[in-house]
Symmetry: D2
């Protein structure tokens, strides 16, 4: 297998008007960059323009650290919000867990198999239940038991630990603890949760019980960025599976796990690939 | 194609205990009935037993009109609620419509192609919009404009019309009008609605707008029996389709129509096949 | 509802190299065109570039009839194959049918409901079975019985009829007759077929019988452009549904119909939207 | 969590005729067994009857070891093939692997989380690649390199090892080696394979490459019992995922892995639950 040539991803959004794509691609081409992928989208109801542009860095005349200054005139011209992410920079992910092992096994298995370009420097838990799983994969496991009284102090300690480990984003792999707004503020659109229902249905606790009670014929899972409002953040990915009257709550929980794993893995991958733009409380997930 | 031998479907439920299947199948076998399909289910959390048993009438020693008396001892023994439905009896369905044509075209096309063993003696509407569709298929079209003031009187007239046409059940094919509890009482578990969301999410009006606003990645449709509580009746069938940030509300409406058609058609077929048992606010839909 | 502003779609492909998107979007922007949608794709294994670019014609400095000359230098520069399709031009579709009614009902229902911007000037059949369906929708119905001896002559008459009706493309809606290579040559990548299996499995006759015999747990449908090789043309769309041991061949045929309808309808829409580029025996279907 | 009461599963098939269900359920009820689940199916084209009946052993008058003799008259009467499997008996599964880690991680993760009632006494491989995975989970790992010359001898050693470990069935978790007909004969309908295509399409080697070449819009996975004919055994489970022109062969391989894992896991579970009856080259998979 050949190593792919290094690329950078430019994510940008701005008010829609004529000539945005032309101006940006001209900027890249004039500096000898080769666009290998471009996807744009106009939300017509709000006249907002979104773009994901990936270009090869080899031969590109502007070094990453000088990009902002070089690109500033174009950005200014279109009142553009943008972000540049070089593919060479390997991201660092922290896992937050409680008792459910399936997402943790799934994520660590993918990690170990080399499916993702990511480092997992640590697992954070609010109890000891999954320590053997983390240890099985050789990942440091840190326990921060949290009560109403200790929450602020413990989160501060967690933030220190995350910072000292250079963590870029957090995955709540069925972490059964509400994270404070203050904590979230340190990782805006960088905390990915998996909720075990097709939101907005069955937000909150025990969604499979509620689904069984309502007699639905499908159950779902939703991965979203965590915001201060519980289960209300921008949705990254959702999927469902069929159930029937034969399925007890226990069956739903078991079958649902497979769905949760896949939905969360797809969301993580989209995040790693820089394919997500958040706009208001919605996402643009480029294909 | 050979005409299938006439059968009867016995739908039954009762408190669970030993020997129910044995007693019922012995009753059938002793009278020379041949069981061609049997499915049973025990809801263990409530210890309730459900059964659908289909048997050939040819050679069966008990004529349909004498079944109740012959079966009474078994039913009494197990405190069984039951219903016998001979397959030879062709059912009669009324369509209620407003403006959306897709479900109507789909249902009338299936009817015309002979997909279902059903008669459609009439279409009921609250305005004239879909008269050309009904006429295209040669189905009588009746308009009952309804306002708050006229509702009771108009529903009474509708009931007369349904009765005089021998209607067994009603399909609300995107009928945009709330049906009164009194009206529903005349067709308990015999009014099938299609709602354009994966209930319980997005109950009420304009679900696709709400889905777009929330930024979901799947949209759904739900077919349920109509009860006095809006969009809260027992669910017969649900399915979803994927959407993305590219889909405007209009795209969701358009794509959703294909899903609504299929979900409603599956629910109608399950109802026609006597595969549904309602228990509380949930359904058992035999396979 | 407001009428959308007129746009044109540019479909283009060429050997991949730097600056293609920049050159094309610059060409559009310099002539005051507003790009409302752009999707490009590079098939890296073959280094081929594909693009679909939709731009508003209002204010665009080049009238459609002068586009080719104006765009020629760009196209030449990149050895580009391209096609421009103004959205204002309403396409004309011919339906070819035999005995199966479900796709015909589905297509004519969509047409009548205004779901597609398309005219259907005629239905062509090889027997009389579906005449009542066409007549129900007021579409002229032409019968061309075909035998080995009459095939060439009948296809010539069909071509005359299609030409005189200004037909742009043909949909074989379960048309049970092999179309000659000569006929296909008159409508390259403009004849859309629906085959009732997930190709390449179960090509040829009686795919549901073969699927039942093999004991598969899913059955599919495939829409493809017709080429001289039977069931081997470029695939536009596929989907599947689940089946089980309970499903007889007849059940598969019935359930499969719903899948066929939806798959064919999606393929037709993609064709109408100018979202398809054929490359070798594969398609790029822009999103 | 309460331990479920011990049950036994009776799997039976025979020529269809009147009174089978009645006779069998009467046999159970007369001996104080409580039927907790019964599903039967008649393949009408062949007039063959299939049944899965689960009943509680508590209070059942016949001990497992005496069942055969007690049941013999009923079985004889209907020319019935049957099998009784007590749920208390925990099964033992061997994993055969080569280089692909994803199914192995998935299976061992499920095992470790207690999702299945199964023991995994050993992993068999034809090379050392996945030794670290097995060791991570503490499962003995045995390597049997196989060449054309050593095949017979190595398979004999494998059989010895399987026998001495009391292995009930084998899962080929992307085991890239053809198993001999003789070997298969020791585990009839007890070797489960996962093939990375929707069979019968793309049997044999490199199915994702072939799928990419053909330009399909869905890719699949198939789990089947291994028979002497490669990729032709009775199918247990299949599923598909959507792909597009954007997906390279590498993308298909990656996305396909998630599908393979889930399909294989569902097949294993159905096998463990005694829900599968093989008939000819097809399966009845009870719900």
């Amino acid at each position: 297998m050949t190593v792919p040539a290094p690329t950078a991803v430019l994510l940008a959004s701005c008010p829609d008007r004529k000539g945005i794509v032309a101006a940006v691609t001209r900027f890249i081409a004039d500096r000898h960059g080769n666009v290998v992928d471009l996807e744009q989208h106009v939300a017509r109801d709000e006249a907002v323009f979104f773009m994901r542009l990936e270009f090869e860095l080899q031969g590109f005349a502007v070094p990453p650290e000088a990009f902002a200054e070089a690109f500033a005139p174009v950005a200014r011209d279109f009142s553009m919000t943008w972000d540049l992410r070089p593919s060479a920079r390997r991201q660092r992910m922290a896992l937050f867990v409680t008792r459910e092992a399936h997402c943790v096994y799934d994520i660590l298995g993918r990690h170990q198999s080399g499916e993702w370009e990511v480092d997992i420097p640590l697992v954070v838990a609010n109890n000891d239940a999954l320590r053997p799983v983390a240890e099985r994969f050789g990942i440091p496991f840190h326990v921060f038991p949290i009560t109403a009284e200790t929450k602020a102090a413990q989160e501060a300690r967690e933030l220190d630990l995350l910072r000292s480990n250079g963590v870029d984003f957090i995955v709540l792999a069925r972490y059964m603890q509400i994270v404070s707004a203050d904590f979230i503020g340190h990782f805006p659109n960088r905390i990915i949760n998996i909720h075990h229902s097709f939101l907005p249905a069955f937000a909150g606790a025990k969604p499979y019980h509620a689904a069984h009670e309502r007699g639905v014929k499908i159950i779902g899972a939703t991965s979203h960025y965590v915001t201060a409002e519980l289960d209300r953040g921008p949705i990254l990915e959702q999927d469902v599976i069929r159930v029937s009257h034969k399925d007890s709550v226990g069956d739903m929980i078991r079958k649902g796990r497979d769905n949760e794993k896949v939905v969360l893995a797809r969301a993580i991958r989209a995040h790693l690939d820089h394919r997500i733009l958040v706009h208001g409380n919605r996402t643009v997930v480029f294909g």
